[in-house]
Symmetry: D2
Subunit: 398 residues, 4 copies
Amino acid sequence: MEAQLKLAKNAASAEFESARRWQRIGAPGPRAELYDQKARENAQAYAQNIEAYIGTISVPVGLAGPLTINGNSGMAAYRVPLATTEAALVASYNRGAGLISAAGGCNARVVSEGVSRTPMFAFSNVVEAAIFADFVEANIDGMKDVVPQVTRFGRLQSARTVIEGNHVYVDLRFTTGDAAGQNMVTFASEAVLGFILDSPPVKPRYWFLEANLSGDKKATGGSLTSVRGKRVIADVVLSRKLIESTLHTPPERMVEYWSAGAIGGVMSGATGIHGHYANGLAALFLACGQDVACVAEAASGITRMEMSDDDHLYASVTLPNVIVGTVGGGTCLPSARACLDLLGLAGPGHSVAFAEVCASIVLAGELSIIGAFCSGDFAAAHRALSRGEPEHLERGHV
Amino acid sequence: MEAQLKLAKNAASAEFESARRWQRIGAPGPRAELYDQKARENAQAYAQNIEAYIGTISVPVGLAGPLTINGNSGMAAYRVPLATTEAALVASYNRGAGLISAAGGCNARVVSEGVSRTPMFAFSNVVEAAIFADFVEANIDGMKDVVPQVTRFGRLQSARTVIEGNHVYVDLRFTTGDAAGQNMVTFASEAVLGFILDSPPVKPRYWFLEANLSGDKKATGGSLTSVRGKRVIADVVLSRKLIESTLHTPPERMVEYWSAGAIGGVMSGATGIHGHYANGLAALFLACGQDVACVAEAASGITRMEMSDDDHLYASVTLPNVIVGTVGGGTCLPSARACLDLLGLAGPGHSVAFAEVCASIVLAGELSIIGAFCSGDFAAAHRALSRGEPEHLERGHV
Amino acid sequence: MEAQLKLAKNAASAEFESARRWQRIGAPGPRAELYDQKARENAQAYAQNIEAYIGTISVPVGLAGPLTINGNSGMAAYRVPLATTEAALVASYNRGAGLISAAGGCNARVVSEGVSRTPMFAFSNVVEAAIFADFVEANIDGMKDVVPQVTRFGRLQSARTVIEGNHVYVDLRFTTGDAAGQNMVTFASEAVLGFILDSPPVKPRYWFLEANLSGDKKATGGSLTSVRGKRVIADVVLSRKLIESTLHTPPERMVEYWSAGAIGGVMSGATGIHGHYANGLAALFLACGQDVACVAEAASGITRMEMSDDDHLYASVTLPNVIVGTVGGGTCLPSARACLDLLGLAGPGHSVAFAEVCASIVLAGELSIIGAFCSGDFAAAHRALSRGEPEHLERGHV
Amino acid sequence: MEAQLKLAKNAASAEFESARRWQRIGAPGPRAELYDQKARENAQAYAQNIEAYIGTISVPVGLAGPLTINGNSGMAAYRVPLATTEAALVASYNRGAGLISAAGGCNARVVSEGVSRTPMFAFSNVVEAAIFADFVEANIDGMKDVVPQVTRFGRLQSARTVIEGNHVYVDLRFTTGDAAGQNMVTFASEAVLGFILDSPPVKPRYWFLEANLSGDKKATGGSLTSVRGKRVIADVVLSRKLIESTLHTPPERMVEYWSAGAIGGVMSGATGIHGHYANGLAALFLACGQDVACVAEAASGITRMEMSDDDHLYASVTLPNVIVGTVGGGTCLPSARACLDLLGLAGPGHSVAFAEVCASIVLAGELSIIGAFCSGDFAAAHRALSRGEPEHLERGHV
């Protein structure tokens, strides 16, 4: 009863704060669009996800698929919600999803997991730094023990030291259950630091909870052989006939494109080798309540295409940094919940499958865009779809 | 009259298509959330921005600022709408914005502009490739002439060839007016290719309109000395007193953090040196109808902090890849228009100022997060705000 | 007469200084090896190439080739001297050279040239920096004019500004005739700085003649689309029959290796895509009096292998940073002169051809090592040759 | 007796082979220089280090130091032999060595060791690849057991799998005693592969002994947090007075240079943050019989300079890839042995100390060149020394 009252009071208070902000702003047009009735009603629902709330924006959602995936839990066909305002994006991913499904589906596997925080400790010289690093590496068990005191799901996997001059970085890597887990690893690292700083062999001059080695919110070369969140791979074999009928290009041309695009990307200084992971990931993350800023790190990895021995096309995508969750963060907000429900992947137990969907839709997008560059359809499709010509969608030329 | 009829018919048709999709899907819960009355009414408005439309998602928006900027058009104070579901994000950017404004504002300047498409032409050997490259470089004027035939705003700036083996990549760089311009440069490049392929000295074996050297949708090292969209810089000088009272740390500690974080980032293989550009950019792009996938490329650059000669803190951010617009793309959709209106930056003539806001809010975020790591407040602030403790916001400890 | 006397006096003085050093050191064994009669006699010859001279080391030289090259000046077959102490190196390059020559030779072309110095100017803020950068870009003609006053061969090609925060880097790119030219561009840049600082629109707070953007002595990603020294490419088409008889592997396997090795290299964070450019370049640079430290930058680039339409193997190497000369530096010292004479490339007019030899021998090395990994001969060849088993060389299995 | 006869026969044979080569070449000038009496006498000595031997080149050696180092085995002062033909190099390193020694020496520590080979195994799809990777990770003990059968000194430390698409790379990391160990790890990896391929759970379609993930002969970003050979760090604290009297610049200016140079390097796409590691390393490697091609990988790392709390300058260098040895390879050849003897570091038990000398001389070089850029002496010193003006050396302005 008391709890209900408090909730009601909080809701009233959240709505009141927003209204007061709009009084100061005084822009009736924007207010009508952003602070509509639904936005007012949901003010309290967003209280743990935003500050200085003034309403909501609307982003259109399109549906790609069904996309058939042979994942860790068996075969499944997914309808994939993609939120974007960029013409041709949904059409292109839909075309790729159709291609994959027509081939019987793609394989997808999460091959490793882990989220890092990387504190740094500063000493007077490398001699002290080396002593401290030895101490940290010798006390991993004690560090592991303190973590369950502050988190139910987070567990410390490893603590690797990297010495640079008189600085010791510690790569604390955690598992985070079905949550993306960035806050979880922050709190857990704070506990680990408490343990380390309780009786170090040399007292650091100063330290920081995070010193930018973790790859948080950034594409990093180091992650290509490692993981941030989930390292997930999808691959598929497509027959020559299917490619020629769907993408209107011989598979050899796609391998030539892959090679030219790989080298183009390497010469540009990109992280990994790929075409446009960010398009599909941003749209899927946005629809499903993931942290959209994590597109910065998730949109890196390796696409590979080659002719198989029996004259088919093999295509794969490897994404080392898919930092996603099906619990926590924005996943329980109304829109995200609806989109995760469409996938059948809301709540605990679904983060691995969700990561597999991420990789598989990215594979669909790589196939579709490379096909478009090879057949010469790319510009025409964008011209038609950005003018809203619906028949183009039917033809699937994207 | 005819036009009105067609519009009404299209609107009815768009709504009908979506309804039909939901019949197939048959998920009443998600349908109620995603396909509410507003989503139905706006179906036609989104027709040129999405395919296979099934409704809209809602994302909460918070307001940071006012943020005072000394930009190309003089001083201005902006209220900055940020759409996100990540607790503490708006609070942190708001704190940084307050700090900058209290110091009298930051400088911001767009120092170069340009968007590239990078077609590739394949030959038999390097001898042919070199002949072709010479031809392209000698015919820049003819290439420039064909562009106005297909775009009102796009203009070809330069065409630089890069030879790799028997492949010639051509970096076609365009100005794009006040639009982000990705489609514009696609269509313009198609026209340029038509010109080039009309009478080349050696016929290419095959070619692609884009071969992945342009940095589209990817953080690229090459862009650090170049530009994709707008290269924009913001800097500020903050007094010791202001920093100590607002961020609760001496400025020297922030310089030490910068150095440790710079090296942490370099060792991680990040593109440039920065903390978390993606957070602010994703939230601002999302609110203002920008292509959120472009966070992948925009979230790279250089943050620098150092003590100035007179014992103040100098801080700057340099973003080479801010690919944004105030016309075209998603900028005219209802929510985006409302948020751009809040900034006073909707429509033609505002893309430079909008890029300056991007850099300035990113500067605010770098100052706030580094302050939080230096004072030790980072974990505590995230703990409080992700639990919706409003008093924490008032204290501004993020 | 006077000159001769001075020379004799200098020679005596150089020898005397070295002898005095050995008195202090007092290590008779090392002295006998390093400071033998030839080293004593040449003391004066080395006076402009070394300080604190104590003698010479000897490095064994092997001969690879003949290596047939279709270069800018037509076809030529080169005997290539390689100085190394690593078993199997000469044998492996020799095998590749034989393969290329058996195919009728490779193509080689220098496709661009230029050596940079990159001074940096510091200002109070980005506003001043942008004004200064505009000034520099507008005064390229005046900057070009001062260069011939300090160098006979160096010419300023371009001056591109890169602004980061309140810092302006200027990429001064020069042509350097047939010299590698690092000292030349240093002196020329000093003259350019004198011009710039004579009447700048804003006075810089401080400046540095070089601020590490030039890529001097470092592999840099930025150079992959640019040049440092000479950008030189070699390519060749090899028939299936030739590959199978020489390398004992089908060409398709080599393409598979290329793909796997390309991705291995990218995941490792290498600069470009290649196998072991450094081996051949270090050995050739060392033999021919080039700056061996420049291997750091020269040993980067792109190797590519693919099946051609007519079932042959196409292979290419692209080296953007071959900073070499046939005049100046160490090229006129006795051993270097002898090795350049063996190539027929000593003195003015030969730097382009020498760069073509660099790329072509590197191509030979890539073909040979990839062949060895594909056939499974790699370990066996190294085992035999590091034990000095000469018959292995005859079989050419490296 | 038989062995002696065989040796004599081999020596005669090696000499005979070289003479026969010169007959074919017929270049009397080069022959006189390269194939002098000493080269003839040493023909057999080089038999396991070179093929197609035609003689030796001579490279001048200068002496830097004494350089005082507080290493793992206590304090020591080293005379450092540097082989180069680049004017000003020895002078500059000598100046830095004097500065360090005047400050009481630098600290140096090897903080980790390991040399990798990285075979790759190809499968049909990611499902098979994941099964194979699990198998490899579970059988590390068996893999360790086979290594001592083929090498006395090499030991397998770890075997980490990296899956990309349907490919499994295995990072086999070994310790190699006092040898650089590249051949050792090749042979050991061959044995490990034999073990793995004896009964794998899925048979790979094909595999390669090395697939380019190891960083062999290449600067790699991944190594910045890892190791190839020895990860070695040197650091020193220098008083303001010492810097101002020796380098003629205030220490704050050096920190400003460091920051500008760090960002210049990052924007260039260099691997790590440094000035010119390659200069000192190439000269030291060459003098001491190391594999000079390994400069490509060794010349990467992190230089850092900052003001210490008590107004001194802290400077450090971190080199992750110092792949050196004091036994094996070229270290037992006459010149190399003489130079290692000068250092007191020939033979077993000295590789750690030799790596510490590498890092310390590199630190000397970074201090000297940054000092020269700050004081404005850089161009003047190079001008004087490349003209052989000895008095400049005395003034130490390099």
